[in-house]
Symmetry: C6
Subunit: 69 residues, 6 copies
Amino acid sequence: MSEFNTDLPSIRKVQGYTKDKNSVEIKLLTNDLLLGTIIWQDPNCICLQDPNNLQILIWRHSIAFIRPK
Amino acid sequence: MSEFNTDLPSIRKVQGYTKDKNSVEIKLLTNDLLLGTIIWQDPNCICLQDPNNLQILIWRHSIAFIRPK
Amino acid sequence: MSEFNTDLPSIRKVQGYTKDKNSVEIKLLTNDLLLGTIIWQDPNCICLQDPNNLQILIWRHSIAFIRPK
Amino acid sequence: MSEFNTDLPSIRKVQGYTKDKNSVEIKLLTNDLLLGTIIWQDPNCICLQDPNNLQILIWRHSIAFIRPK
Amino acid sequence: MSEFNTDLPSIRKVQGYTKDKNSVEIKLLTNDLLLGTIIWQDPNCICLQDPNNLQILIWRHSIAFIRPK
Amino acid sequence: MSEFNTDLPSIRKVQGYTKDKNSVEIKLLTNDLLLGTIIWQDPNCICLQDPNNLQILIWRHSIAFIRPK
């Protein structure tokens, strides 16, 4: 059921966060809660820039939810 | 086996919750229990509006169950 | 390997529980153990009615096992 | 990569346990360790009969390993 | 993205461990750390022989990593 | 949605870490945090060389995130 189609609301929501450089929290299945801004997404991953400008490559399959901070 | 077909009972159940603005609880594989109303669903995600009007983008693969609150 | 084919023993077993209104326990990957009767199944979910007549929409990917109670 | 092909060693190993009624332990991703004999397998599940003759329908996606007891 | 193609480095690495009867540690998503030698692999499973000569059928989807011991 | 296409930013990011022999941290769904340099990737796995020159074969499905160390 997973699809990387830029017409889908879920993909567009993440595009919006990227374009607007919104601070977001990403909760992972490990229970880590990562804070930062999204730099890009592709079919496998979302790349998050954290407050120390470190780029974190997050696998989609490990994401539980994303919310604005 | 996962399918996003609007004739399926599981997809229609979530459509019903969305249309009727029912309060629901969504239990995740992280053991988080999120409360809110569902705004939309697509093949990847369900978007939940929480009691503070924050929009939470929840990945389907992380959902254990949904029940009315 | 997951398939929703009503000839498969696993799908028929759940159909049997549904038709006979057997009390079942569903163990989830979250370690929740849910009790109730199964009302329907589709390719994504199993819908369980709990002892308070609450309908719980359970995602198949989160199920560890089902056993009669 | 998951396949239900009766020529595969993993499918045949489980067929062997079933035919010979070997006692096995099945470790799940929930960390449950279930003991019993395997009655059948299909593409979705393995059905285990426990020492109390209760039939437990175990989803393949939740299995970590199987070993003889 | 999972593939069982004997030209892939990951499949060949496991073939190497099998042929050379190297002692390996297999870490599972349950956090179990299993020790032994790999006897065979197929698209679903890796079969490990533990120090007591017990054969453990490990599902690929539950493997986090393999390293030489 | 998972794809092993060398044009994708996520695959190229890992290629960059490999080529440049950057120290990275790989966080797994088991909550292990592995440190090392990436030697190769294929559709199933990423091979990490740890500080003791031990090669660890990490399954992609178990990866939560990768970040430079």
